[in-house]
Symmetry: C2
Subunit: 376 residues, 2 copies
């Protein structure tokens, strides 16, 4: 039986779902000769860890208890130290993770899995890479920070996986890595990588006012609590940056051209969510409606896309031929079109659900399993 | 620098293209710390091999010379024994490959790459698996033979890759393996996995007679020399079997329901290619035309698809909603729709060129690189 030791950082929706998948898949993985040993789990404040990460692991009971606590927005500190688990917090948290990485990284191996949405994990991740650990990310921040941090994270390219940073579990990164390793140069990527904005753009295409569609998206749970977090395009820009860097472009977030779907004077610093939804967004209807109409005169539709081509890396609304994978997109699916030497006239298209805790966590789990040959 | 030793079986179009890709990608792979050392290349009759597979490899000059000879339909025997390469033929060929596998399999590692289209490689592949070698297949035959041979080949599941057996270089197998390893059960696969039949079905949809479309497909080089090799559905059935077995179904080729697009009385044993194209196929126009018309009354189109669902595994013409990835398919692209827990209402869709030596060889090369962690 091969043991893959895991420390999970972040137990929000994706992290919790990952723990549940791990517990559910025990017998499936055992059939493949694999055991996932979760030796530690932390949120931003506390770490629950096996007393001896070398010889022990957190029991399924403890993992599910972590899920239960986090779902109830309780603190992991409620779990008391015992022979089965220890609880650390504050600066001890980071120290304990780094100590575990030092102990396990080059001996049994350790996969440090980041399902948080924080920039604060970057330091620990960098240390872990130096200590010989593998890294699996659903968190986009570490890959979209300074170029220097990126270079460090991918310095051992076989030891990092980050499928779920783009398109949730959709096999986007894995497929691009295959294309690149076969020497097939990717010259253009265009994609709709936000389920929220995909939904919004396909609904306004049908003639609905932008403001109404944004409100429906919010009530359907498609948006962040403040829909402007989606409408700003920042989330898509991070995904675009991850793809561009994967293709070897040495770009930073601030060099990406980002079109926000609301003007600065409607920003979170200026008006509340309620003001934006009740009055601000109404003022945006006319402009979007005119652009939709103008595109339709050319037989096109509008999509909020990322485009990476040559030195160009931008995210925003583009006119797209109605009769392309992107143009036909409906609802909240993501779609990516990749053009390369092998996929020249017709692109490689990958399409499907690109959000949701279940599929995101499934992508993280597949990444962990894909590292198995690096474990002794 | 990590060395991946390779023996290539089959140097038709795909094999030749693979050798060229390997030579072209030398510096790309060197940047990744990888060197592909091709220690042997064979066709069905002769093997060109480094005199000492442990310490030597075939030079790029020799690899390109092999390509040149095979393109000119010359024998590899033209290459004479020298300090740089040896040539074996007849039963010595198999013996030499097995000897190399025995020498390298458990020490330096060896990837045995099958780009032939023959069943005759199965014996050597089985031996190589036992000897600790990795196996990469573009050849569908070894995976669609007896269940016993399949079980042997996949007995070390991390040591086998066969992306290019389905959809050429399209990331179909890699994506399915990711989904399965994350414990997301695939409950339905439907796909158009023949560029030829994809082209034929989308053209007849536009009202062109079947016979005329088959003749155009042949003159465009989309079909085998005898188009009935495509129209029989056997090639699609092999791909369906590979996918079904990947999902764990214990099926054989003869348990797949296969719809042939020509009747037995027009088979290769009964009439020549010329007779079939000049008279036989004309008799099939009316029936196809009627079926196209009937489907259109339901708002559907006809596609030649493989369907794997529950215990069902079949290939043939089906009515497909016009407004699905499959229904919108035009030209010779392949498309696969995968339904699972994560991709439930909307499928995961993978679409793109599913044929051609370049993309098929690129898929094989990505497979070889993907095995790198198993090499010391």
């Amino acid at each position: 039986m091969k043991n893959i030791r895991v420390v999970l950082m972040g137990c929000g929706g994706v992290g919790r779902q990952l723990l549940q998948h791990i517990v559910t898949c025990r017998s499936l993985h055992a059939n493949q000769g694999i055991r996932l040993r979760v030796v530690g789990v932390c949120d931003s404040k506390s770490l629950v860890v096996a007393p001896d990460v070398f010889s022990m692991e957190l029991s399924d009971h403890h993992l599910l208890e972590v899920c239960r606590l986090k779902l109830a927005s309780s603190s992991l500190l409620t779990l008391t130290d015992s022979g089965e688990c220890q609880v650390f917090s504050g600066s001890d948290l980071t120290k304990k993770i780094v100590d575990s990485a030092a102990l396990l990284g080059k001996s049994t191996g350790l996969a440090l899995v980041d399902c948080s949405a924080s920039s604060e994990t970057i330091g620990v991740l960098n240390r872990a890479v130096d200590l010989g650990c593998c890294v699996v990310l659903a968190n986009k921040k570490p890959l979209t920070s300074k170029m220097e941090d990126y270079d460090k994270l991918v310095s051992q390219p076989r030891r990092i996986r980050h499928e779920s940073t783009v398109g949730a579990g959709l096999p986007v990164i894995a497929s691009l890595n295959r294309i690149l390793s076969s020497g097939d140069p990717v010259h253009r990527i265009i994609g709709s990588l936000s389920g929220t904005l995909g939904y919004v753009m396909s609904e306004v295409e049908d003639g609905k006012p932008f403001s109404q569609v944004v409100k429906s998206a919010k009530s359907l749970g498609y948006t962040e609590p403040d829909p402007r977090d989606d409408l700003s395009g920042m989330d898509v820009a991070r995904k675009a940056l991850i793809l561009a860097r994967l293709l070897g472009r040495r770009l930073n977030l601030d060099s990406i051209k980002i079109e926000s779907l609301y003007p600065e004077e409607m920003g979170p610093g200026v008006m509340s969510v309620e003001e934006f939804l009740c009055s601000g967004v109404l003022l945006l209807d006319k402009n979007i409606q005119e652009r939709v109409y103008k595109a339709s005169l050319n037989g096109n539709v509008l999509r909020y896309v990322c485009v990476i081509e040559g030195s160009r890396c931008e995210v925003g609304i583009q006119e797209i031929p109605k009769d392309s994978a992107l143009g036909r997109l409906k609802g909240s699916d993501n779609v990516l079109e990749v053009y390369s030497r092998c996929y020249n006239e017709q692109p490689l298209v990958i399409q499907g659900a690109g959000a949701g805790n279940d599929t995101t966590a499934a992508g993280v789990l597949a990444d962990i399993l894909d590292l198995q040959d690096l474990f002794p």
